[in-house]
């Protein structure tokens, strides 16, 4: 039997329908792959028993012809989503013992449609991070490695002296053209690093993510996967551990645009338990893939040509634009003048909301408690030990910007900037632009530990192209579009009108068609 984990979600769905394999076989193949890939640290909790039970139930429904749109499809779930009876930690020490008695709306909709849960995926602590290095479970290792050299090898049986070294390994010896990879471990991006790595490494057919400032799109770009942050209000936030309520959105990761579209259809929808979710019909997103883009106006925002942008990213962006143009779209330069204020404003709004959202982790009712002499000492010890440095930093920033005397200068001003950013996009779309094309990230994936320096802003700069989209509440799709000189995948971002995810899937499909798919060489 072919490796079932290499299938796309769509292919797996067809195979299940044709009874080429069972849901249980499909799930077992993934469970085996997960077990073999523990070096990646993508899953923080594997749920094989639950997965097999769900797969068996799926097989029964499939046998009766009563399967849902995701019947028997094994998925991974970011640990930000509450899963009933299954430990949900947000990869935070303070929630390390938390087992929710409820299921998030988004995941319950996936199970409603027949999907199978393989386990919980690693992420930055409380989704605060851009590299998955802040997780209490340790960093996720990207399945991607940097290519050092691509050369035609001689028939020699061992590494030649000039290329071999402690950091180098041979990747196979059988063909004449070989690639030599750096063993340095790379980050998969964050905060949904586990989701991105698991999808890229074939440890699930798709995964859920959450995106507050780029936490789906940046790791998707780093791992050559497709990720979409839908319009704010498209997916219910109920049962997702909150980071910044006005920015958080759930979205899927998949290996193809169509797969992401299929997943989003199940995840999206109105939820009366979330006041900010929008009561609006959920379209058949997959039907948008493959539609013509002829005549669509694609905005190329000049302000995204940031200082110090690498030539590779600039080139990728141009190539992406050319792909869309070749398919019949029209390219127009647009201006989003307030872009440069987005990142600083984001790093006020998001920590402000986080400082309040995380106040509930006080050791009183659930989660980790560190005893103290009195209630204040208990709070202090619990929160000092329960939160990691990055979370503590953001709580401090958020508390500061909301303080009396600083509120107007920081929080209020940031909200005003947010209004201007939203208006930039509105003006752009009012001029007939269907979607905006930008790079997804300023660079390819970096090494673990490379950016955990004294200056956290260096890490924050990863979000420079993605935060605007959250600030404006718009949908944003990251789609792989090429590789850098070291063979690492690079992604482009498509930004759409509110609730026009369909256009993003159509355009993303064009880029995918042209650029092809990107799969890491298995080394783990």
């Amino acid at each position: 039997m072919t490796d079932l984990t290499k299938l796309t979600l769509t292919e797996a769905r067809d195979g299940l329908a044709k009874k080429s394999f069972s849901a249980l076989e499909l799930t077992d193949a993934h469970l085996a792959a997960i077990e073999a890939a523990r070096a990646l640290n993508a899953y923080v909790l594997e749920t094989p028993d639950q997965a097999r039970a769900m797969a068996r139930a799926a097989d029964e429904r499939l046998a009766k012809g009563a399967g849902g749109p995701l019947e028997g499809i094994p998925l991974g779930v970011k640990d930000m989503f509450a899963t009933r009876g299954v430990r949900t930690t947000a990869c935070a020490r303070i929630l390390s013992n938390f087992v929710p008695p409820y299921e998030s709306t988004v995941t319950s909709q996936l199970w409603r449609d027949g999907a199978v849960m393989l386990g919980k995926l690693n992420n930055d602590e409380f989704a605060m991070g851009s590299s998955n290095e802040t997780s209490a479970f340790g960093p996720v290792v990207s399945p991607w490695r940097r290519r050092i050299e691509k050369k035609i090898l001689s028939e020699s049986r061992g590494p030649s002296k000039d290329v071999a070294g402690p950091d180098l390994v041979w990747k196979g010896m059988k063909t004449s053209e070989e690639e030599i990879y750096d063993t340095a471990k790379l980050v998969p991006g964050g905060s949904s690093g586990g989701s991105a790595a698991a999808v890229a490494a074939n440890l699930c057919l798709g995964a859920t993510g959450t995106d507050t400032g780029g936490s789906i799109r940046q790791p998707a770009a780093f791992t050559g996967t497709v990720g979409i942050k839908p319009t704010y209000g498209r997916c219910s936030r109920w049962g997702i551990v909150a980071f910044a309520s006005s920015l958080d959105q759930a979205g899927p990761f998949a290996r193809t645009v169509e797969d992401a579209a299929i997943l989003l259809r199940s995840m999206a929808g109105h939820d009366p338990k979330d006041t900010t979710s929008v009561d609006r019909a959920v379209p058949d997103y997959a039907a948008a893939v493959g539609k013509s883009v002829k005549g669509m106006k694609i905005g190329i925002p000049k302000e995204y040509r940031v200082d110090g942008m690498s030539a590779e990213i600039e080139k990728l962006w141009g190539e992406g634009a050319a792909m869309l143009k070749a398919a019949g779209a029209e390219l127009v330069e647009v201006s989003l003048p307030h872009t440069k204020y987005a990142l600083p404003a984001y790093y006020i709004v998001a920590p402000a909301e986080a400082s309040s959202n995380l106040a509930r982790y006080d050791g009183v009712r659930y989660g980790v408690r560190v005893p103290g002499r009195d209630i204040v000492e208990m709070y202090e010890k619990t929160r000092a030990e329960g939160f990691g440095p990055e979370v503590r930093r953001r709580i401090m920033i958020g508390t500061y910007v909301l303080s009396a005397g600083y509120y107007d200068a920081y929080y209020l001003r940031a909200q005003q900037v947010r209004t201007l950013i939203r208006k930039d996009f509105e003006d752009c779309f009012a001029n007939g632009v269907s979607a905006i094309l930008t790079p997804a990230t300023p660079s390819a994936a970096f090494g673990i530990g490379e950016k955990t320096s004294e200056d956290p802003v260096e890490m924050y700069l990863n979000d420079v192209f993605t935060v605007t989209v959250n600030m404006a509440g718009l949908p944003g799709l990251a789609v792989p579009a090429g590789r850098d000189s070291q063979g690492l995948p690079l992604g482009l971002q498509l930004i759409g009108r509110p609730f026009d995810e369909e256009t993003l899937f159509t355009l993303g499909g064009v880029i995918e068609q042209t650029a092809g798919r990107f799969t890491p060489q298995r080394w783990w």
Binding site: F81, A82, T88, A90, L95, F98, P100, P101, Y102, S104, R237, W238, G239, I240, V241, A242, A244, S245, S246, P272, K273, D274, T275, T276, A352, E353, S355, S356, L358, A359, R360, D362, V364, R365, Y366, I375, Y379, T399, L402, S403, A404, Y407, Y411
Partner: protein, 494 residues
């Protein structure tokens, strides 16, 4: 703020007169089946933590959803306070840590409350009235309860109240004495109870007050205020104000300075004491709650609620005076509790439709019924005499079937034994004698037997009273007093 000085309210100090200035924040629990942002029950009592939803316990990922009935109740209350209703308001988070505050913030309304300025007309015992400005009314969540006396080294938390809807009703600093403050809270409570938006039960903590007190020399700018937190009875509100005003006057007259602070009133010791100073005050870091959209509704929603508001005490009082000819005092007494007013109106209403005499009915409800209830410490709801029975007694008087005196006996019988008043009058022969010939005979007998009194009466017509008394006595009180009077006048030639 330069409200007129009401000189009668001034407090005498060693250095002259002082004026006390009071503003009150009333926290009124909204009458609703479910909490403000969760579906959990608001029933009082029950085992600790029996009425706690996932939202109330602030579990990860839980979100608040506004209870629309609480919104309607707040709007109704705003209308009852003749206040501005804001079609758009915003819920904010008030951030602070406390074990009975599971979210680490209280959802409240800070900059944009649901109700703006309004007013309450307050009647004082001396028959005068004054107006208290309402600054605002906003919706907010109640906290849970910390229990410190259940365990030697630990505190327990009961979240049953956590998330219950409160209306915070903030008055302007328009009150000038403890009496005025008591009267204001009493009136506000009455309005809330009429509206059915808060049961006003202070014993259960369903209505509590934070009292802001400052003092100044008349005509001077406002002094520094202290806030006395969580006063839970109308009597204590008065005591707290008097105590705090005297404390502040004492400090100022000794050359001291008032520090703005939050204080607690200890009714046992009869003192207020510092809870926290301004420096220790929390920085609540208010900001709009991103989990909730701004609360918006249209004027039609407000008008719909307005159309179904009950008649409020001021309107009812005016109607009683105008339509029934009641005195302002009687009308005030009757409307002071919705249940009393309802009872009175039931006494007024006749079975077939018509209406009984208002003054007579008011007299009987206030003097006989309320008097008796007060004496026995009973509530109107526990009255042994129903509105129907009292109405029947009033009818018997009005029809001349019984005299007022007999009516009191009848009331006693109905009070202690129950029964249909008309049947009792019939069966016990309590009917008033209106047969003129029967009365005439009695009159003739008494006139004949008392020639000396007749002579005196001719000289001094008020002596007729003696004859009336004799006739009534001899008829067992059943003679119609008017008929007796008329006959005597004729017989004595007066």
């Amino acid at each position: 703020m330069n409200a007129p000085v009401r000189s009668a309210k001034l407090i005498k100090g060693a250095t002259g007169d002082w004026e006390v200035v009071v503003g009150i924040e009333v926290h009124a629990q909204v009458t609703s089946n479910a909490k403000l942002f969760s579906g959990a029950s608001t029933v009082f009592g029950g085992e600790p933590n029996a009425h706690v939803s996932l939202v109330d316990a602030a579990m990860p990922g839980m979100l608040p959803v506004i209870n629309e009935e609480c919104v309607r109740q707040a709007v109704r209350t705003g209308l009852g306070l003749k206040a501005q209703i804001n079609l758009r308001s915003v819920f904010d988070r008030k951030n602070y840590f406390y074990p009975d505050l599971p979210q680490g913030y209280q959802i409240s309304q800070y900059k944009s409350p649901i109700v703006g300025e309004g007013e309450v007309i307050v009647d004082l015992a001396d028959g005068t009235s004054f107006t208290v400005g309402i600054e605002r009314l906003h919706l907010e969540q109640d906290a849970g309860k910390s229990l410190h006396d259940q365990h030697p080294s630990m505190s327990f938390v009961d979240l049953n109240r956590s998330g219950v809807a409160l209306m915070e009703i903030v008055s302007k600093p328009d009150l000038r004495s403890a009496d005025e403050a008591r009267a204001y809270v009493t009136k506000l409570r009455t309005i809330l109870r009429y509206l059915g938006t808060c049961d006003g039960d202070m014993e259960k903590g369903n209505l509590r007050a934070d009292v802001n007190v400052s003092v100044r020399k008349p005509g001077q700018p406002l002094g520094t205020r202290c806030e006395i937190k969580n006063v839970n009875s109308i009597r204590f509100i008065g005591q707290a104000i008097e105590t705090e005003a005297r404390r502040q006057i004492g400090i100022l007259e000794d050359g001291g300075r008032i520090d703005q602070e939050t204080r607690l009133f200890d009714p046992v010791k009869g003192e207020t004491r510092s809870m926290r100073s301004k420096e220790e005050a929390h920085d609540y870091r208010y900001f709009p709650d991103p989990d909730l959209l701004p609360l918006e509704f249209d004027q039609a929603f407000v008008d719909g609620l307005k159309g179904h508001l009950p008649e409020l005490p001021d309107e009812k009082k005016a109607r009683f005076i105008k339509e029934l000819g009641l005195t302002a005092y009687d009308a005030s007494v009757l409307v002071s509790e919705r249940e009393s007013a309802d009872f009175f109106e039931q006494v007024l209403a006749m079975d077939g439709g018509g209406r009984r005499d208002g003054k007579l009915a008011a007299n009987w409800v206030i003097n006989e019924l309320f008097g008796r209830l007060n004496k026995e410490g009973r509530d109107i709801a526990a009255s042994p005499v129903s509105a129907g029975q009292l109405g029947a007694i009033v009818d018997l008087i009005g029809e001349g079937v019984i005299s007022g005196k007999i009516a009191k006996d009848l009331f006693e019988i109905v009070w202690s034994e129950g029964g249909d008043p008309r049947a009792i009058v019939e069966s016990r022969g309590m009917k008033q004698v209106t047969d003129l010939s029967a009365i005439e005979k009695v009159v003739d007998d008494i006139v004949a037997a008392n020639p000396d009194k007749v002579a005196q009466a001719k000289a001094k017509p008020t002596m007729i009273g003696w004859f009336v008394g004799q006739v009534m006595k001899s008829s067992g009180g059943k003679a119609n007093p008017q008929a007796v009077n008329d006959l005597l006048k004729a017989k004595l030639g007066l």
